[in-house]
Amino acid sequence: MGLGRAFRAMLGRDIRLAVRQRGELAQPLVFFAAVATLFPLALGPEPELLERIAPGIIWVAALLSALLPMDRMFRPDYEDGTLEQMLLSPHPASVLALAKVVAHWLVTGVPVILLAPLVALFLQLPMQALPALLATLALGTPLLSLIGAIGVALTVGLRSGGPLLALLLLPLYVPVLIFAAGAVDRAAAGLPIAGPIYLLAAMLVLALTLAPMAIAASLRISLS
């Protein structure tokens, strides 16, 4: 069968599996909302303060909630042997791995983007910054998934890869955080945001082209 069909079948299978394990699907979403609501509880509900720190809080919460389910991207497949089958396919492993990343982003990243306006309202984010927040999340969360997938692929063969994965990924996530939170900050102050948005878009294009190959190579190392 063709590569396009293989890609769609892999994407469809992973989404179907995620839907059958709904509990896991809700975890990052609840975590995102919980982390974001901790800050007003700890710092006090003054609107001026919250308005000032909301972009940073929302982005840190989004980043942490992306990290939480990251390990699930390849570990279940590693454990039940379907990852081996994927690498033994005559289709390029990089394209099949990309299908898995896309599926993972659709079930963990997109819900966070959809919940973000509510959390933004909660944290008194100025309305004029909402489009910027959604734009940075739309560009940034797939970037987090792509970078994260490389880390997961590298650590999937280790017994306790989770904590190591967080240490590995957090530094790599810093540029995304800086540009994304910065853009929302600028939008809240009424400044133009084209610069950081273009930069995030460029990073996403770069990750989309290069990350699949790095993921496939890392998976081969982990499985050998």
Partner: protein, 225 residues
């Protein structure tokens, strides 16, 4: 003997090339954790051939199967497919093999039918059999739409074996496929392998059990000392 299904081989294959070895393993050496598992291991497989790997636990049967298909690294030696080193014809080689590891490689949250569709999509071949016929032949008749988590270990193994029937690759690499199968399941698998050999297919199988494959000759390779 009339094969019940044709193994996917080019139609131009003439009788004399049928005798040429398709899979050649030469002077293979594999190590794990700085320990050499086996060295100078070699065998050839011609269409219709069966190799049975024997050896104690930890003697490297799984590593050998994984090394042949390219999952485990090779220290020395080489694997050739139809006269060319595997690496040079990797796509063709991968399209021609089915590897069933000792972990079945199926998703417990999916039904046998969904699992089969997922593995079929990973191949480049057209299905040889409709799924229901395959389920019937592996003894899962009527269970095609039951999630695997509600099936027994032996039934999960059978669901994995259905892939061998639906995706008609010439080379089967089977790692302890009898695990969790009952006597009926063992006979079913022996019949699959014998039919596969009769249709010109090749099998490398690791198992401790004596295989009853009717008249089909089996090369036995013993790993470890």
């Amino acid at each position: 003997m009339i094969p019940s299904r044709a193994v996917n081989m080019p139609a131009t294959e003439s009788i004399h090339t049928q005798r040429d070895p398709w899979l050649v393993v030469e002077a293979l050496c594999c190590a794990r954790d700085d320990r050499i598992l086996f060295e100078a291991l070699g065998f050839t497989l011609t269409p219709g051939g069966i190799v049975q790997l024997e050896g104690a636990n930890g003697s490297g049967k799984t590593t050998l199967l994984r090394a042949i298909c390219g999952l485990a690294p090779i220290e020395d030696g080489r694997v050739s497919w139809r006269g060319t080193p595997r690496e040079e014809v990797l796509d063709e080689f991968l399209a021609a093999l089915t590897y069933l590891g000792h972990i079945p490689g199926v998703k417990r949250d999916l039904t046998p039918r969904e699992n089969l569709a997922a593995s079929r999509a990973l191949t480049t071949m057209e299905p040889a059999l409709p799924p229901d016929t395959a389920f019937y032949r592996v003894g899962l008749g009527g269970l095609g739409d039951t999630p695997l988590r509600r099936l027994s270990a032996g039934q999960i193994r059978r669901a994995a074996l259905a892939r061998l029937l639906v995706v008609p690759t010439p080379l089967w690499l089977l790692d302890e496929p009898l695990t969790a199968l009952d006597t009926d399941g063992k006979r079913m698998l022996e019949r699959l392998i014998a039919d596969h050999a009769a249709a010109g297919g090749m099998t490398v199988i690791s198992t401790h059990h004596a295989l009853d494959l009717a008249a089909t000759p089996v090369q036995r390779i013993r790993l470890g000392n």
